[in-house]
């Protein structure tokens, strides 16, 4: 009984929030130009399904492209940073500084360099999402048990051996944990870029519909964005659970 309730609770909560929203809109007669009811947003979704499907697709692929670059770059940089203390100390302030720059401020520069289109969106998604990956991979390497390193070094293991046999495998739970965070950030990056300057994507759709006072359409696009985010998060949560089951069972806790 309790476990069924627990299983159903995400669905029930989501439906509950929509019902509350709908009821509030009707009860207080909220103007649809301020806050449309979810029913209106869903109707807009049906009515404009063709452009919404197109823009959703554009946002999804640009996000995944940026995220893919972030994963490759993040792992590579994380390994380099985790490999050597000197590089770690040298690069860390630079990376913190870079991460503090709001990416929305970078988008105009990217548009000047690459023009309006998908490239600035991909790059913004990449720039905003690689940081947690780097930090987690580096942390995974840096927290290796020194005694285990001693065991291997006393056998004549080189640094590369230790990395391949211990460092990289033990980084996995940290990496997969960071991917869940990074994918949602990547969506933020894409939409920021699309809102500032693009001719496709959900961010563009939101900006365009907003300027035409089509609030139900704005909310329809927002809901789709949330849905894409949840779906991708679920994918990476599943991958995490599938590949690093040992991390949840053993005393070693993942990216805490």
């Amino acid at each position: 009984m309790n476990s069924t309730l627990e299983k159903l609770s995400p669905t029930l909560f989501t439906i509950g929030i929509f019902l509350f929203w709908e009821a509030a809109c009707r009860a207080f007669k909220i103007d649809r130009f301020i806050l449309p009811a979810p029913s209106e947003a869903f109707m807009a979704m049906v009515q404009y399904w063709r452009p919404l499907a197109y823009h959703s697709f554009v946002t999804l692929w640009t996000t995944l492209a940026g995220f893919g670059i972030a994963v490759a770059f993040g792992i590579a940089l994380g390994l380099v940073v985790g490999w050597s203390r000197t590089i770690y100390r040298g690069l860390y302030p630079v990376m913190i500084g870079f991460n503090c720059i709001p990416k929305v401020a970078v988008v105009p520069i990217l548009i000047m360099w690459f023009g309006i289109g998908e490239v600035p969106a991909i790059l913004t998604a990449f720039l905003i999402s690689f940081f947690p990956i780097v930090v987690n991979v580096a942390t995974g390497l840096a927290t290796m048990e020194p005694e285990l390193e001693d065991v291997l070094r006393a056998l004549g293991a080189r640094k590369l051996d230790i990395m391949l046999k211990v460092g990289i495998p033990r980084t996995q739970p940290y990496l997969f944990g960071s991917l869940k965070v990074a994918i949602t950030l990547a969506f933020v990056g894409t939409v920021v870029s699309e809102t500032v300057g693009a001719n496709a994507g959900l961010g563009y759709q939101i900006a365009l519909a907003g300027s035409n006072f089509q609030m139900p359409l704005v909310f329809a696009a927002l809901l789709l964005l949330a849905f894409e985010g949840i779906a991708m998060y679920a994918v990476f949560a599943w991958i995490e659970g599938h590949f690093t089951r040992w991390a949840f069972r053993s005393s070693m806790s993942a990216a805490a």
């Binding site: 048990e145 005694e147 285990l148 001693d150 065991v151 291997l152 070094r153 006393a154 056998l155 004549g156 293991a157 051996d161 046999k165 211990v166 495998p169 033990r170 996995q172 690093t244 040992w246 991390a247 069972r249 053993s250 005393s251 070693m252």
Partner: protein
């Protein structure tokens, strides 16, 4: 082939954040081939530094370490090590944890892929001798602490090291499991006769297992007493209650009490 160890007048300073700490000063210690040596002493006397020195993981400031006639200048590449924490890799099955050294040490390393099946059998056989037959395909986190420590011992021994370094390997176990593992280690050593240096706090453990017990002083550590254990082998757990055994423990205890006072 087991190794001999000669530690000659070694000094070691740890460079920490708050300045250097003199860990060892004028430490001299000799271990014959195939000897079981134990090092006991008050906590913080630099016993663990001794482990790092002998395996070449740390260079001494002064003095020399000679293993089987050759001066140690870098990691020795032959030693098996086990610590208080089993440090097993949670993503590897038990048998693959045991096989880890063979993936690193020559000549096994070059043959590893070709001979994997045979190595696996060796690992399974070794696991069986420590009472873990049939556990090879489990994961370390499915095993109890004592069982994990047995796996750790197997990992330290799979490549037939000429020198086994043990740093309080049984300290985290309950009394019964600890005594059980004493016997496991005793039997393994009697079968293979590798050279052992066992660092421990437990005087009964040292007396039960070792041929020679070296007592270290408080920091900076050096050897203040070397005691040969004349008890006949093979020793049984029952022997721990014999007067001769108790006398030795008593004597060691008195000496350690003395160095702690200073």
């Amino acid at each position: 082939m087991s190794a001999s160890v000669e530690i000659g007048d070694v000094t070691l300073t740890y460079r920490g954040v708050s300045g250097g700490v003199l860990a060892l000063k004028g430490t001299t210690l000799n271990v014959r081939r195939g000897e079981f040596a134990a090092v006991v002493g008050p906590s913080g006397c630099g016993k663990s530094s001794l482990m790092k020195l002998v395996t070449g993981l740390l260079p001494p400031d002064n003095g020399s370490i000679v293993i089987s006639g050759a001066k140690v200048t870098g990691p020795v590449k032959i030693a098996g090590m086990a610590f208080q924490n089993p440090n097993l890799l949670p993503w590897r099955k038990v048998v693959d944890n045991v096989l880890l050294p063979l993936e690193i040490v020559q000549p096994y390393r070059s043959n590893f892929r070709r001979e994997k099946k045979q190595y696996r059998e060796q690992a399974e056989a070794l696991l069986k001798t420590v009472g873990l037959g049939g556990f090879g395909d489990r994961y370390p986190w499915e095993l109890s602490g004592g069982m994990q420590q047995r796996v750790s011992l197997c990992r330290a021994l799979i490549h037939q090291p000429s020198l086994l370094m043990l740093d309080e390997p049984f300290a985290a176990l309950d009394a019964f499991t600890r005594e059980e593992l004493w016997c496991v280690l005793r039997d393994l050593w009697q079968k293979i006769r590798f050279t052992v240096i066992l660092v421990t706090h437990d005087l009964r453990e040292a007396t039960f297992l070792a041929d020679t017990i070296h007592v270290m002083s408080a920091r900076p550590g050096h050897i203040v007493m070397s005691k040969t254990v004349e008890l006949p082998r093979p020793r049984e757990l029952e022997d721990c209650f014999k007067p001769q055994f108790i006398d030795i423990v008593h004597e060691l205890r008195a000496k350690i009490g003395e160095v702690r006072q200073q």
